[in-house]
């Protein structure tokens, strides 16, 4: 990152903190609610973005995150409802995500299907299958994941409620951001992953098995989307409903791009997008403006378009050079 960009980021951060402080002084509960909602929405986007970035860093586009969310949410919900265990449901969600990831890898890496088409297959399959098998009479049967206070940290005003009094998958996501960051930029796996996304031929000549690593990464990445599905069904909502992922898998891709395919960047971007979702929820709840709810509901997506368009202007945001291309040896 260039010094000028770094400077801009600090200024932006300072402005945001000042604004939050101002609003908090004016209306404490309202501000807390919006910010808590921001983190809630950001968790799902961050998980999706991590799924996307592991794939894209290895050279594989994953537009099937939406489908991975939905399918995982379905199985997380169903298994919990059958076993009565949130934990088993979460595991089922992650396993579903891994399976969906494996499916994408089998198509995009193994069979060299066009990656956009492979991702679309996941989306359509997930929507169709979950809608068909969804049983309206079924319910979760247990209470969804509840907030866990992190000791004295939870007592800090505003920050405590927003960050340190959250349900388990949210904490897990924050930990995963750190893990993925270290793995991507410091570990052998990360170095090789970035290499196969930029120049698979170079990786091949030093003995790295490009196709195998891509297969592994795309499958593994599915696990993150799977956790996202579990989060959606078992922590955020507490039930399953038709098409409940509601475009957030695509939003996660925007978050990933805006966050420059880095975990922390993506989380910052997820908070921005999460904020628009939270704000929109508050607007609808309080009926602040006399605007049809459909228009207010557009807010996150309008922001997506504006932000993605703007991000092109912000400067060099280069895709991995081999993104979207199948690799042929020799």
């Amino acid at each position: 990152m260039k010094p000028r960009q770094r400077q801009l980021l600090w200024i932006a951060a300072a402005v945001i903190v000042a604004l939050i402080w101002g609003f908090y002084s004016a209306d404490g509960p309202q501000t807390t609610a919006v910010l808590a909602g921001t983190v809630r929405a950001a968790t799902l986007l961050a998980l999706g973005a991590m799924c996307g970035m592991i794939g894209e860093r290895s050279g594989i586009v994953n537009i099937g995150i939406e489908g991975q969310f939905l399918m995982s949410a379905f199985f997380a919900f169903t298994v919990t409802s059958m076993t009565g265990s949130l934990f088993m449901g979460t595991i089922a969600g992650v396993a579903t995500g891994l399976t969906m990831g494996w499916l994408l890898a089998a198509m995009a890496v193994g069979l060299k299907v066009d990656q956009i088409i492979a991702g679309t297959v996941l989306n359509i399959a997930a929507l169709g299958l979950t809608s068909f098998f969804y049983d309206r009479s079924r319910s979760l049967g247990v209470t969804k994941y509840t907030n866990i206070d992190l000791g004295p940290l939870a007592d800090i005003p505003l920050v405590g409620t927003v960050f340190f009094s959250r349900p388990p998958i949210t904490y897990l996501t924050m930990a995963l951001l750190v893990v993925v960051h270290i793995a991507l930029f410091r570990s052998v796996w990360g170095m090789r992953t970035r290499a196969i996304g930029e120049h698979p031929g170079a990786a091949d000549t030093v003995g790295i098995d490009v196709l195998r690593l891509r297969y592994l990464n795309v499958t593994l990445a599915g696990g993150f989307a799977g956790l996202g599905g579990s989060y959606l069904a078992l922590e955020a909502v507490g039930t399953f409903s038709r098409a409940m992922s509601g475009g957030r898998g695509f939003l996660a891709l925007a978050v990933m791009i805006f966050g420059r395919r880095t975990p922390f960047g993506a989380y910052a971007a997820a908070l921005v997008f999460g904020f628009t979702t939270a704000l929109q929820n508050q607007f609808q709840l309080k009926n602040t403006f006399d605007i049809p709810p459909q228009f207010v509901g557009m807010l996150p997506f309008v922001v997506t378009i504006v932000v993605v368009a703007l991000s092109g202007l912000v400067g060099s945001m280069r895709d991995p050079a081999a993104l979207g291309q199948t690799y042929e040896k020799g």
Partner: protein
């Protein structure tokens, strides 16, 4: 010292329809430099790819250090001490020098890549072998000469005692090439054996201990620099006597045809690639543009031929201002273009030879009438081109993709020359084609000059510039370093300008 480092014994490799290596045997001993000489398509690259484990041979055996081996892949070859510097560098541009060198063989500490340890080893290696390079620079910011050092260090880092270099000097200035040859000589002193692939005779004689010449997949001769001459080697490569120098008379320059004024052009990444270039080409002369590749030549040519927008300056052809015109407008003012990338800009591979022969004027009389193409006329024209330009093909209806590189190039030249052109822009006109076709195309370019065309010749092969051009312009970092009279220029003077050194 008699230990055999690397050898191919009776290696045969077939590809569909081609016998790429036919019973080839070569040997490399410690401290020796083996030059593999041959034209494009002679089987040099296939042979080294077999030695490096990229291809499996269909017959014969590979010996590494007195042991017959069965290589399963490049990693197998690497672990046995074979290092390869590919013609197209195998580096990851956004990663640092150190990261590129250790990729695939990363030192670790607590499960993470230990870049500090790696850096220490890289610096030590680069000092020992005189391969200075900034270990923390990003590869994408390095000039090609430096990138090549990274490639060599990559092999040395893996303790290679055999180094295979595929056409390593193609991207270097003459001075850089000399430095490379010195580095290689230094490496042999520590017992490393080197396989050096090239088609440049001068280098072979300067560096090799042993020379093996390949033609059409077979070994046609083995010799040493003391016994060989340039003419002798050229004949061995081609299989008949060849003229190494182009016969031409003194140029008779006429009026200015192409005038370029203060031209500025951006490259694909939006960076300034041509930076205020001024030049003139007169009818009846060849202006050669020399320079290491990537110094703005491509952008200059594309701006002149209408393939790329300019950001400032003027381009006039016969007094007509043509900057930012379409390629068709440029062609219609009498400009012929032999493009650098023949597959991308020169031909449409899936079209027939006949269709390709009229790509620049299929829409005009007599080839089209009211929007309908006239098959017979086009075929007649194609047959005339095939005859006159010696394109080897069964007939004119075959798809162009079935032709060899040299024949594709002759077809392009034939197409561009079949109308009287006033300006010829020839970019790398003989890249990757056989010596026979090179001779032919060189002769035709000189003919165009003598007929009165102005010729702008861009080439990365300095020898080509020196033998064809009447005046030589040198580009470095997008700027014109100077224009020399060819009669006063030599490798050294042009080479210094190519490295950006003036005065």
């Amino acid at each position: 010292m008699t230990e055999l480092l690397l050898a191919a014994r009776n290696v045969t490799k077939r590809f569909p329809g081609v016998l790429a290596n036919d019973d080839v045997s070569v040997e490399l001993r410690p401290g020796r430099i083996l030059a593999l000489l041959g034209e494009n398509g002679a089987g040099k690259s296939t042979l080294v790819n077999v030695l490096f484990g990229m291809y499996r041979p269909d017959g014969g055996e590979i010996v590494i250090k007195d042991e017959i081996v069965d290589l399963r892949g490049p990693d197998d070859a690497i672990s046995r001490g074979i290092g390869m510097v590919h013609q197209h560098f195998q580096l990851v541009p956004p990663m640092s020098v150190v990261e590129n060198i250790v990729l695939g063989a990363e030192p670790t500490k607590l499960g993470l890549v230990d870049l500090d340890e790696a850096r220490v080893r890289v610096v030590e290696l680069s000092e020992r072998y005189g391969l200075e390079v900034d270990p923390d620079a990003l590869v994408e910011d390095l000039p090609v000469g430096m990138q090549q050092r990274v490639e060599i260090l990559k092999a040395l880092y893996r303790n290679a005692d055999v180094l295979i270099l595929d056409e390593p000097t193609g991207v270097l200035t003459p001075q850089e090439a000399d430095h490379l040859l010195r580095v290689l000589r230094g490496l042999t002193e520590s017992g490393v054996g080197i396989v050096f692939i090239t088609h440049k005779l001068r280098e072979v004689l300067a560096i090799a201990d042993d020379i093996v010449v390949l033609r059409a997949g077979r070994v046609v001769g083995a010799t040493t620099p003391t016994q060989a001459t340039e003419t002798g080697l050229a004949e061995m490569m081609v299989g008949r006597s060849v003229a190494l120098r182009v016969e031409k008379t003194v140029a008779q320059p006429g009026d200015v045809v192409l005038q370029v004024k203060d031209l500025k052009v951006d490259d694909d990444r939006g960076q300034l690639a041509v930076d205020g270039v001024n030049l003139q080409v007169r009818s009846g002369e060849i202006l050669g543009v020399a320079g290491v590749e990537g110094n703005g030549q491509r952008e200059l040519v594309e701006a002149i031929t209408g393939l790329r927008h300019t950001s400032a300056g003027e381009i006039t052809i016969n007094g007509e201002s043509l900057a930012n015109s379409s390629t068709r407008q440029v062609a219609q003012t009498g400009v012929g273009h032999i493009p650098e990338d023949r597959e991308k800009h020169g031909i449409v591979a899936v079209y027939s030879l006949a269709e390709n022969s009229v790509l620049n004027r299929y829409y005009r009389q007599p080839f089209s009438n009211r929007g309908i193409m006239r098959r017979e006329v086009i075929h007649e024209h194609a047959e005339a081109v095939v005859d006159e330009f010696d394109v080897r093909t069964p007939n004119v209806t075959v798809s162009v993709s079935s032709l060899s590189g040299g024949n594709k190039q002759k077809l392009i030249v034939g197409r561009e020359f079949s109308e009287d052109i006033e300006l010829l822009v020839a970019a790398q006109p003989t890249r990757g084609i056989d010596i026979g076709a090179i001779e032919f195309i060189h002769r035709r370019i000189v003919e165009q000059r003598d007929r009165g065309a102005a010729v702008l010749l861009v080439s990365a092969e300095l020898d080509e510039i020196l033998s064809l051009a009447d005046r030589i312009a040198v580009l470095y970092d997008g700027k014109l370093m100077g224009v020399l009279k060819a009669s006063l220029a030599n490798r050294e003077s042009v080479g210094l300008l190519m490295a950006g050194i003036t005065g």
